[in-house]
């Protein structure tokens, strides 16, 4: 049976985080950072048990890199022991084996016992700050071989993560926003592998839409919160990308500016927000545009100015 569908299921971030934390080996909890919409959802309305997030995957980042392999094996084996099930799709009907090439290994994507509502996926951070290509490392487990994927700016997702009461971490929303901004300096034509609520969506629009959703949720908590982001972003960039941070900071706003300038792309971003993180209080396209303008003014432009100043001195 193929488990892959395009349907984003309404799930409770708190329930998912608790289930993951309880199922993995205790000694691995310190290695696990939940990223993506579940982390965002837990951060902004995790305490509201009735609040749900529409998603289908729980992205779990294993770090530091030197411990990711051993933690990945331990987590995967423990989950299989706890009756988590391999998620089948068109490409993979079962885990890989010793004969499967590295770049054809399936990711660790596991459904919790007796549920097809969502699945856990394991990822790790890149080996070095300059390595931003998609890489796979082999996880050899008693239940088969899997690939542990790293890519892009995942190094930012484990920057000063927030410890949850379950003993696992969630990524800071502003760091996920920063990673997405850097990942998409333009609106690229590649679309998501599956449909989002029946609609084909460019990956850039989905990820940049996530940035706007985070900014809107952040402003809901504190109207001036975005003004604190430039310093947090600056510190993170300097620590994670010490030799590149100026160039990275200079390009941080390009993607959002392109999104705000393109009505069809902004509409796609809005659609993903309304289907996902902003489902409970959906904004209009004009309201989302204002979120983008505020983000530019409060967070992006000050960071760009810092980079320009550092670059010219």
């Amino acid at each position: 049976m193929d488990d892959a569908t395009d349907v984003l299921k309404p799930i409770s971030p708190e329930t998912v985080l608790r289930e993951i934390a309880q199922s993995i080996p205790e000694f691995c909890r310190k290695n696990m950072v939940i990223i993506g919409s579940l982390a965002v959802g837990y951060h902004y309305f995790g305490s509201q048990r009735t609040m749900i997030v529409r998603t289908k995957d729980a992205d779990c980042l294993l770090s530091p890199r030197v411990e990711a392999l051993s933690a990945g094996v331990a987590v995967t084996e423990k989950l299989f022991e706890e009756n988590w099930e391999f998620r089948k799709d068109e490409k993979w009907s079962k885990p890989g084996d010793v004969n499967t090439p590295d770049d054809e290994l399936p990711a660790v994507r596991l459904h919790p016992p007796n549920s097809r509502e969502w699945f856990l996926e394991l990822l790790t951070v890149p080996e070095s700050p300059t390595d931003r290509a998609q890489r796979w490392i082999r996880l050899k487990t008693r239940y088969g071989h899997f690939g542990l994927c790293s890519f892009g700016f995942l190094l930012l997702a484990n920057y000063e993560p927030i410890l949850t009461s379950f003993g696992i971490y969630i990524a800071r929303p502003e760091m996920m926003a920063l990673a997405n901004l850097l990942e998409h300096p333009e609106i690229r034509p590649e679309t998501m592998s599956g449909l989002i609520a029946g609609r084909e969506i460019k990956r850039s629009n989905k990820d940049l839409g996530r940035v706007l959703a985070i900014a809107r949720l952040e402003v809901e908590l504190d109207e001036d919160a975005l003004m604190r982001w430039p310093k947090l972003w600056l510190d993170a960039l300097k620590k994670r990308f010490p030799s590149e941070w100026i160039d990275l900071a200079r390009q941080i706003g390009a993607g959002i500016r392109a999104l705000l300038a393109s009505e069809p792309d902004l509409d796609e971003a809005l659609y993903t927000c309304v289907q996902g993180l902003l489902a409970s209080r959906p904004p209009t396209v004009d309201m989302l545009r204002i979120v983008g303008k505020r983000l530019l003014q409060d967070a992006i432009e000050p960071l760009e100015a810092s980079a320009e100043e550092a670059g010219s001195s």
Partner: protein, 353 residues
């Protein structure tokens, strides 16, 4: 369209349009003064079009100083001078007094929307003010001094503060009638709070102060405190905080917790004022013309020569007491305005006896 932030530096060979979309480039010229500048702008766009294919070039003339017929005649004449593949992609739009001269159907709806946004943004950044109401300014200065307990004033000092002549001061004093005691050597002194004149001022306060209102369009309105904090980042030394926040500075016992809007006084003795700082306060603010609609930000223009703004130890500028009192009444905070007026008048009364 993508707005080009660095469009201010345009040299030959390095032309950057003000905005660019996948279907068009837009060049905006504000208050263009002469045919020569119009020709230069069209020639620049024509040159640009020779290097790009499949895009229109739109020249938007906002409030040009030359008349529309002259502009369109020149445009038609120049079109014949360009190659057809250039002239058929070159468009000109004149925006004057809130309207375009026409609406070419071959400009895409998306580009139209962005052109309109540009025009709205431009009109929001600068505003042309009506002639100042100097009689009102004289009255407010006299009242301000009375609130401070300064008592007797010379006409000369009022003339210098307002930036007017003796006749204007004299006319205002005449209008205030028995509320003013005249001394020798053109000295004057307010005897009591002139309720009738105040009521008349309130009735025309909107026009006397050229009030402009803005509403929040974000569904996540910023508080007046947040807007005020952002004002301090704009570096404007001609904008002061008034309204409830200002009144509370002078009268801490004002019976009001929280406020829904920020009132700012903008010092502008001239006829044109740059109000671009509004966008810096919050891009969600949009100008509204309905007095009864809830406003998030309200600007009042102070037209006299001296602003009478007060800078505190933190460098924050505050509007004077009279402006704050007017703001409370304009916001229909009647009981608070009454209490504030009573508080302010007590000082004047104590001097007047």
């Amino acid at each position: 369209m993508k707005q080009n932030e660095n469009s201010g530096s345009k040299g030959p060979g390095s032309y950057i349009p003000d905005e660019e979309s996948s279907t068009a480039i837009l060049e905006v010229k504000k208050r263009i003064p002469s045919i020569r500048e119009l020709r230069d702008a069209l020639a620049q766009l024509a040159g640009y079009l020779t290097n790009i294919r499949g895009k229109q070039a739109i020249l938007l003339l906002a409030d040009p100083r030359i008349n529309t017929k002259t502009i369109l005649d020149e445009y038609t004449r120049l079109q014949t001078a360009f190659r057809p593949e250039i002239s058929e992609r070159l468009r000109i739009l004149v925006y004057r007094e809130g309207a375009f001269n026409g609406r070419p159907t071959d400009i895409s709806p998306h580009d139209w929307k962005l052109i309109e946004q540009h025009v709205v943004a431009d009109s929001a950044s600068s505003t042309l003010l009506p002639r100042p109401d100097l009689r009102s300014e004289v009255f407010r200065v006299i009242l301000h001094e009375w609130f401070l307990g300064h008592g007797r004033l010379s006409s000369k000092s009022i003339e210098e503060t307002v930036g007017c002549n003796y006749r204007t001061v004299s006319a205002a004093v005449e209008w205030l009638g028995p509320a003013v005691k005249r001394h020798s050597n053109r000295g004057i002194e307010l005897k009591y709070f002139p309720k009738d004149a105040w009521a008349q001022l309130l009735a025309v306060s909107d026009s006397a102060r050229a009030t402009i209102r803005y509403a929040d369009m974000s569904d996540q309105p910023r508080s007046p405190e947040s807007l005020a904090k952002r004002l301090s980042h704009t570096g404007r030394s001609d904008v002061a905080i008034g309204g409830v926040l200002g009144a509370k500075r002078y009268y801490a016992n004002l019976d009001l917790t929280g406020t829904a809007r920020l009132d700012l006084s903008v010092h502008c003795p001239g006829m044109q004022c740059d109000i671009d700082f509004v966008r810096q306060l919050d891009p969600a603010l949009e100008r509204i013309h309905d007095r009864n609609a809830p406003a998030r930000l309200v600007l009042h223009f102070v037209r006299r020569k001296e602003s009478l703004f007060d800078r505190d130890d933190r460098g924050i500028l505050w509007a004077d007491r009279v402006e704050c009192l007017l703001d409370l009444q304009e916001a229909r905070l009647e009981s608070q305005a009454l209490a504030f007026a009573e508080f302010l008048s007590s000082r004047g009364r104590s001097f007047s006896g």
